[in-house]
């Protein structure tokens, strides 16, 4: 027994293994950056998600220059003009005369920080009529970079909130089912199986069709979250129930009963915390499913609608190979989805690796 070291529970010791996995920690940082971008979208994005300028339809990413005739100057953005070449294809020509400096902490469109505080300042921007398109523009001349940030708000939050609701329902149902057993268990598990029986995507479409047409965008957003959560809870509930069935036989549960604790207290204090080792990585590994679910719905036009940005609906523009050939930057949302999903998967795997031996040893001590 060490005298001066900190005293950590076995769970905390197992999680230490996670911090030693450099790949997983890097992925965690990447996600942190993405979520920070989403949270502070209004500040980082030079333009609002609906700020269009049809003069710049499908404009390529603007080049940021720091040299002017060999001299080192403050970063600026050259002007662009839309012309057509001999094949009537659209090209943008750089106008060397026009120069727009990039300015920082610029007042611009108003937005609400965290959805609450009205703000006017953006991290960087250029004076009009210059446009800064860090990652190019879409069909209507809207800045892809800005829309990526606003889209992140939708896509990333739906993943988190949806999973949180599923997780809560799954724990509740699984915990009660596993602890009490008998007829209640039977009933709840058959219910789970009925939900799991219907193929996921069809259930998604069917439930979406049931949402009234006159819902505004915010209501559609919440409806999608609820729909996704409804599909996802059953799998988790079944596994939690299995774990609870064996956990309730543990001697510390019997001891708690002997000490007069009520059933609810026992489930919440002694049984459910021990399902955490499994639940944590199950949740991590299922977040990508929610993000892809929302993206899929938005891609086919049933999710978040224009003008609101979501990574999925930004990609519906990219369904034509011609457009991709001439404006490849419209694929940025796909890359973001890929990055997010990959990071969650790596983190989930790393968590499973470090929590698995603990799961196993918890099982052995019976």
């Amino acid at each position: 027994m060490t005298k001066n070291a900190e005293h950590l529970s076995e769970f905390q010791i197992a999680l230490r293994g996670f911090t030693q996995n450099r790949l997983a920690v890097s992925c965690a940082y990447v996600l942190l950056v993405l979520y920070a971008g989403a949270l502070l979208a209004g500040f980082f994005a030079p333009y609002s998600f609906q700020d269009e300028d049809r003069n710049y339809s499908y404009a390529p990413p603007t080049q940021v220059k720091i040299f002017d005739n060999g001299r080192f100057v403050a970063p600026y953005v050259p002007g662009m003009k839309l012309t057509f070449d001999e094949y009537n294809a659209r090209i943008y020509v750089i106008d060397p005369v026009q120069k727009y400096s990039i300015r920082f902490f610029v007042p611009g469109d108003t937005y609400r920080l965290f959805g609450v505080f009205p703000c006017r300042h953006h991290l960087f921007s250029v004076d009009s009529p210059g446009r800064i398109y860090l990652l190019g523009a879409d069909a209507r001349g809207r800045d892809v970079f800005s829309r990526l940030l606003y889209g992140a708000q939708v896509s990333l939050s739906i993943g988190l909130i949806g999973v949180f609701i599923s997780f809560a329902i799954g724990l509740l149902v699984g915990g009660i089912s596993g602890y009490y057993g008998g007829r209640l268990d039977n009933f709840l598990m058959r219910l789970c199986e009925m939900v799991m029986m219907v193929p996921g995507f069809y259930l998604l479409l069917a439930l979406r069709a049931a949402v009234p047409d006159n819902f505004n965008s915010l209501q559609v957003y919440f409806a999608i979250i609820i729909i996704l959560s409804f599909i996802g809870w059953a799998g988790l509930a079944r596994i939690i129930r299995g774990m609870c069935l064996s956990l309730r036989e543990r001697e510390y549960v019997l001891a708690a009963k002997g000490l007069g604790l009520s059933d609810i207290k026992i489930i919440v204090r002694h049984i459910l915390p021990h399902t955490l080792s499994y639940s944590i990585f199950a949740v991590m590994l299922s977040i990508p499913g929610y993000i892809l679910g929302e993206s899929g719905l938005s891609l086919i036009g049933l999710g978040i609608q224009d003008p609101y940005a979501s990574w999925g609906n930004m990609l519906s523009d990219a369904m034509s190979i011609v457009r991709i050939k001439f404006a490849p930057w419209i694929l940025w949302p796909a890359f973001c989805i890929f990055l997010t999903v990959a990071c969650f998967n790596v983190i989930g795997d790393a968590l499973r690796d470090c929590l698995d031996p603990m799961l196993k040893s918890e099982g052995e001590n019976t």
């Binding site: 001697e251 019997l254 000490l259 007069g260 021990h274």
Partner: protein
């Protein structure tokens, strides 16, 4: 009589398919009568599967008996509903066999002991009082109160068992049931724990019901021993009497195994007739006979 058991029966269904009704039942406890006087430790001995653990759990109402009566301090508590039973829970506590799984690995020692105060929460309104009680009870079992912020996995088997005993003592019970409480420990640690139990008994006037498969350990701490086999008590006598003069064939077998590490020569299981009853052979010595 502190505790009295009258004709306790409990059967468990043998697991068949999940859809079919279970066909056969195992008679875990098959008509057990037992009496325990305050201050007179009773040892309950038998092999695994003889029903002694089930009986222990029935006494603290973790399992409900099929039939029979449990009397505590003269009052029949067999069918006392949950809420009223709480005052009896305070009077009888249990220490389990496996010190590795009877303490929740996610709880600090303090939290484990604090949980034991649940039934008497009004007595400890302030966290400071709870800490005081926890420290007090840890000192009683020979552990340092500085260990309160540690986790169970940081302790050895013997220390964990002391913590389990401390937890059982928080409520000042009159009856402590120890279900194979030393069976998973080394002989030296076993001795330490048994010495501790002796000391605690003198200090707190608590009576023990000691359940084990090892006659030698049980004899060390019990005034009276009851031998259980296939759900029934086959012999009961004061300790010295049982060790010097075992009458039932199964008792003789247990004695030879526990003390001399010898097996008996019998080929089949000891037979118990359906109409066998405990007969008084004098000197407080009862034997099951047809």
């Amino acid at each position: 009589m502190l505790l009295e058991l009258r004709n306790i029966r409990k059967s468990f269904p043998v697991k068949g398919g999940s859809l079919s009704r279970p066909r056969s039942f195992v008679r875990a406890v098959d008509g057990v009568d037992l009496a325990l006087a305050a201050g007179e430790n009773l040892g309950l001995v038998g092999e695994s599967g003889c029903g002694k653990t089930t009986l222990g759990r029935i006494i603290v109402k973790l399992i409900a008996p099929e039939s029979g009566n449990i009397l505590f301090d003269g009052k029949d508590i067999t069918s006392t509903p949950g809420r009223q039973f709480r005052e009896y829970r305070q009077k009888m506590q249990m220490v389990f066999q496996d010190p590795y799984s009877s303490l929740d690995p996610r709880f600090t020692i303090y939290r484990i002991l604090e949980e034991a105060m649940t039934l008497e929460w009004e007595e400890y309104p302030a966290p400071a009082k709870r800490r005081e009680r926890a420290a007090q009870v840890l000192k009683t079992v020979g552990l340092s109160p500085g260990m309160m912020e540690r986790f169970p996995h940081e302790f050895s088997g013997g220390e964990r068992q002391r913590i389990a005993i401390a937890r059982a003592l928080v409520l000042n019970p009159k009856l402590l049931i120890l279900d194979e409480a030393v069976s998973s420990l080394d002989v030296l640690i076993q001795k330490q724990i048994l010495d501790l139990l002796d000391r605690l008994q003198k200090e707190f006037q608590v009576t023990y019901l000691f359940i084990s498969h090892n006659l030698r350990v049980v004899a060390r701490i019990s005034r009276r021993i009851a031998v259980m086999y296939q759900g029934r008590i086959v012999e009961a006598a004061p300790t010295r009497e049982l060790l010097n003069n075992p009458l039932h064939p199964y008792t003789k077998e247990l004695l030879a195994a526990a003390v001399d590490y010898k097996t008996s020569v019998r080929e089949e299981a000891v037979a118990i007739g359906p109409h066998a009853r405990l007969a008084d052979k004098g000197n407080g010595h009862w034997v099951l006979a047809d």
